[in-house]
């Protein structure tokens, strides 16, 4: 069985169905990209994996069925989440935000702080700065760092490059590569297709709640529909 197995996943917001029959799997150490337009269901898919939606189907993580588990139990099992635009605690400082991330993995806190500060030295420099006063790039870094503080074996990244300058995107890219060297398994949900193609070995195209295409970066690059719709060429 794969590290993460998603079968026939359906998610709802009230009566509105946001995900339809979504199935895919992720192997340990892989980086998977979920690409698609806004409103396609990418965030809903990640929210479902962390237990934040009302979903049906099957999600098996490292042999454990996640159905009915609250987010805190899923985080304890080893899934970390960096949501879109960070969702940071704006009135807390950088260190306090990282501490919140470490709450369910307190025994490894020292180690995690070391790893996060090594990967993202800006966070060490700005430990006492209020999160609400950080720039877009710094917030994204803090979101990544906070997710890593929970000592995850699977990391979910939602739109890590949204609204960022090229120089900041390069830093986020370097951090993702660093995380991969540390053995992280990663799912990236992104609209920035070029960015995702550069990091993920396998990609899925999610449109109107359905996975409509899947394959390696090369295979998707070769698809005329993907080029036209997502690269505009």
């Amino acid at each position: 069985m794969a590290f993460l197995e998603v079968k026939n996943l359906e998610a709802y917001y009230g009566k509105a169905q946001a995900l339809k029959d979504v199935s895919f799997s992720v192997e340990k150490g892989e980086c998977i990209g979920i690409i698609g337009p806004n409103g396609a269901g990418k965030s809903t898919l990640l929210d479902s994996l962390i237990g934040l939606t009302d979903w049906r189907g099957q999600i098996i993580f490292d042999g454990v069925d996640l159905h009915g588990l609250p987010p805190r139990e899923i985080i304890k099992l080893g899934i970390g989440y960096a949501p879109e635009r960070g969702n940071l605690f704006a009135s807390m400082n950088v260190k306090e935000n990282l501490l919140v991330g470490a709450y369910l993995a307190r025994d490894k806190m020292g180690e995690s702080f070391g790893a996060v500060f090594e990967m993202l030295p800006t966070l060490e420099e700005r430990q006492k700065q209020q999160a609400g006063t950080l720039s877009g790039g710094e917030r994204q870094m803090l979101s990544l760092g906070r997710a890593w503080m929970s000592d995850p074996r699977l990391l979910l990244l939602d739109e890590p490059t949204l609204g960022l300058a090229p120089i900041v995107i390069s830093k986020i890219a370097a951090t993702i590569e660093d995380l991969r060297k540390r053995g992280a398994t990663i799912i990236i949900a992104e609209q920035n297709v070029s960015f995702t193609l550069a990091h993920a070995e396998k990609l899925y195209l999610l449109e109107r709640g359905k996975l409509t295409m899947g394959g390696t970066a090369e295979e998707l690059r070769a698809e005329e529909y993907v080029r036209k719709t997502y690269f505009g060429v």
Partner: protein
């Protein structure tokens, strides 16, 4: 061409952090200005200063030659300055058509009693103009990011502005949505509206702007046509890395 909007020696500090540092630039009538810089360089702070959300520590802001430094935000809107936000800020409990109408409600209580904002028909015309036809009674949570950006634009347009400050108007949009917003902006330019555009989507920004000002750590580092700017060594180091 006369200068429509000008900032001179603008400085804004947050504690020990100098977010905008002795910055000067202008926008001419009929011009679209791009404002570029890495995250944290002060672009949104500049918009907040121009709108009067923040008070500068020093420096001046002129609109049509008048010093507007003492104008409260609503007066700046009245004379023709509007903005959109990087993260759309819809009124979540309202249908979008009502949300757009709120931006036309008079700022004086007495005026409000005389008439509560623009007539719904006028608002519907604006909403239709930005491409929201068929979605007037929808709520923000039912809309795509592309439509939320259209609501932002409609709210700004409803105030009858001479210039709109666009903060990351293309962020989070698909290629198709970017093309639609681009067409809409071009139409508004032809109708005589000016813009200052902040965007990290350079493919979308390049064909829109007449001139670009680049800032880093709140300071001016370069200015010129887009093609010249992206080849500037200082810009390359600060922005592209």
């Amino acid at each position: 061409m006369a200068k429509l909007l000008e900032v001179q020696g603008l400085t804004k500090k947050f504690g020990g952090l100098v977010a905008v540092n002795d910055l000067s630039f202008y926008v001419e009538e009929g011009e679209v200005l791009g404002l570029m810089g890495p995250n944290g360089s002060g672009k949104t702070t500049i918009f907040n200063l121009i709108m009067g959300d923040y008070k500068p520590d020093s420096g001046k802001i002129f609109f049509e030659g008048k010093d507007i430094g003492n104008y409260p935000t609503y007066q700046r809107v009245k004379i023709g300055i509007a903005r959109t936000y990087q993260v759309p800020r819809p009124l979540r409990e309202m249908p979008i058509i009502e949300d757009i109408r709120v931006s036309t409600i008079p700022d004086s209580i007495i005026e409000s009693f005389r008439g509560g904002g623009a007539h719904l028909k006028e608002i519907e015309k604006i909403a239709e103009d930005v491409g929201l036809k068929g979605r007037f009674s929808m709520y923000p949570h039912e809309l795509t990011m592309g439509d939320l950006r259209r609501v932002e634009l409609a709210r700004a347009l409803a105030t009858n502005p001479k210039i709109i400050l666009l903060d990351e108007i293309f962020a989070g949009l698909t290629v198709a949505e970017i093309e639609e917003i681009d067409k809409l902006l071009r139409r508004k330019m032809e109708e005589g509206l000016d813009f200052i555009v902040v965007s990290h989507d350079l493919k979308a920004l390049a064909p829109l702007v007449d001139r670009v000002v680049v800032i880093h750590f709140g300071q001016f580092i370069a200015e010129g046509p887009f093609d010249q700017i992206v080849n500037d060594e200082k810009v390359k180091a600060a922005y592209f890395g």
